[in-house]
Symmetry: C2
Subunit: 364 residues, 2 copies
């Protein structure tokens, strides 16, 4: 089938670019002796996860037990659940998975340790624990080496959980690579303080898990990292191109839309809005706009209704006509794919295959 035969809106994944992006990150990690554990929240698809593992990833990262279940059921056996688990129901499901796969969980509270320990002990399994530290983003993670040490000791005192190391997410570093070093230095000061405290305490750290796509290719500048967890790198998007992780021509995701109305002067409406793209604003650069219209730099995607993308065509030399199709690079690949049950893998002008977003909707 040709792309022209697809109805719209439809999310397109350029498989050649996807493969190159997966290989590029795998090569970077090989060169720098880093384990690569891609965050699969971006695509929620076991087949793409397996492509990442085939290229050298040591395993995967997920955000929810429901995502982990999809991946383990598909045969993936090394999973980091990078999210605090604090309900008995979820901890029970995670412990069930630990009977079938190697499971690590990140956390930053005694409550999470006790919750996981209880369920893992009941099933006779052991779950690896990464203590999350706050690298400066101010979301999750303890703020001092003493607090991290206290949690590591708490892990040691509880059955069926094993302290494996530290995790952090540098979500505040959303800058081009050239502007990252001072921010990374600040993270390194925090990391070094933790390493010294743990060494003094005689508690070995096996894993230090960091990374995001924005900082991924600077991971060698972070002290002591053993693995990174980028997700968006496999696709890129308008955010990641804006910070320079790759070029527009490396972006593997676009959304195919059709002009459905050109009745209002200086406007054209396409059939994808916030229920197709998500309403995520650009979270880097000038923060303006909701996507790039490929090949039409004079057309601005200025807003969304639920099912309408509002194009400002006042700067465009020609007029857009009802029925014309456009391809748009979305701001944020993770939330865009998450709107869809199915996306389409393409090569050139052909649709190669449908790709089910299998773990979409697994909100728990």
């Amino acid at each position: 089938m040709k792309i022209d035969e697809l109805d719209t809106p439809a999310v397109l994944i350029d498989l050649d670019r996807l493969e190159r992006n997966i290989e590029r990150m795998a090569r970077y990690c090989r060169e720098h002796g880093l384990a690569l554990r891609p965050h699969t929240k971006t695509h929620k698809n076991p087949d793409i996860a397996k492509m990442q593992i085939a290229a050298g990833a040591c395993g995967i990262t997920v955000a929810k037990p429901g995502e982990a279940e999809i991946m383990v059921n598909a045969g993936i056996d090394d999973i980091l659940l990078a999210y605090p688990i604090v309900s008995a129901q979820k901890a029970g499901r995670v412990a069930d998975l630990a009977t079938r796969a190697r499971l690590r969980v990140s956390l930053d509270s005694r409550e999470a340790i006790e919750c996981l320990s209880r369920q893992a002990a009941a099933r006779g399994v052991e779950i690896g624990i990464l203590v999350e530290i706050d690298a400066g983003f101010g979301r999750c993670g303890v703020g001092t080496p003493e607090a991290a040490l206290a949690l590591a000791r708490e892990v040691a005192e509880n059955p069926a959980v094993r302290f494996d190391g530290l995790m952090f997410y540098p979500g505040h570093i959303k800058k081009p690579a050239a502007e990252q070093p001072p921010l990374i230095d600040a993270v390194n000061q925090r990391l070094d303080a933790h390493y010294e405290a743990f060494e003094r305490a005689g508690i070995p750290i096996t894993v230090v898990s960091g990374g995001s796509t924005a900082t991924a290719f600077q991971s060698h500048l972070f002290h002591g990292l053993t693995e990174i967890r980028p997700g968006m790198y496999a696709f890129l998007d308008r955010n990641m191109v804006t910070v320079g992780v790759g070029g527009m021509d490396e972006c593997a995701i676009s959304v195919l839309v059709t002009v459905v109305s050109d009745a209002v002067p200086n406007r054209a409406m396409v059939d994808g809005g916030s229920k197709t793209f998500s309403s995520d604003a650009l979270f880097v650069g000038d923060g303006r706009g909701f996507g790039w219209v490929i090949g039409n730099p004079d057309i601005d995607l200025i807003g969304f209704s639920e099912e309408h993308g509002h194009l400002d065509v006042s700067r465009a030399p020609g007029r857009l006509h009802v029925g014309e199709r456009l391809r748009v690079v979305p701001n944020h690949v993770c939330t865009t794919i998450n709107m869809h049950d199915r996306v389409f893998g393409i090569r050139g002008d052909r649709v190669d295959k449908a790709i089910d977003v299998t773990a979409r909707g697994r909100v728990q």
Copy 2:
């Protein structure tokens, strides 16, 4: 099952409030002689659509052929597809539905007329057409009575389509009721010009479809309306309470979340983010914040990651603890429900039933 037994995040629908909201709007429409055609994009569930019809709605509104298919398959037989259909594939599906249900479609272009006419004629069915006019929102809709007349005549010249009237969406009127009259007057000037032009031309207008939840209870102030298409009224949300359509205690939707981290000073993280709530900003009032934490006016939901809701608890008298559960009224009910395959109907502290968001993901 009690609500306390649900794992989180979970979208809760208060069924008593839902029923009252449905009845309140039905009563308003009865009192003012208006047909009520609820937009089901809000809930995407045939059972709730049937509750609305049982309360007096004349039929329903949908945004996509895929949503219409779900509703017709569930036995609903009077549908307005309030969206321009410009692809042969979608027009074919709509024409198929017209063999089983009364179908109207809104549009604002010759291309849409020809596209629908061709597919309807091929199937020997007739589809009703509402010509969309721009009431001032600047999204879809023709801008002059002459353009509307030209489309009505185009409909008359094409087979298997029938001109039924006009449609508009006053999406720019997002103000409290007391501030709406001048804006409604401006819409009335546009409407009156159309009515005069159509009367002069001898083309009868059977239907004038307007309305949104923000303006719904002012619908009697619009000239010549015959029906309204509110969606959010059945649930309300932070936007609609902010403009005064109802009170917090009439809001039928909330999201049950759990505090998963309290490690960062002055912050607490809950297990619902943009993939649970959508990232829709408040589009009325001061535009700030992402939800109301019920019973905790001192806690501000200041931002979302994909799976984290970032609470600022610096103003709160007590501390939130890991494992605590909160209920949050989302900014926008339509996009919140759309993130979920299933939501939960509650009465008091009990879960009454699961409600499948059946038409979610029907993006085409």
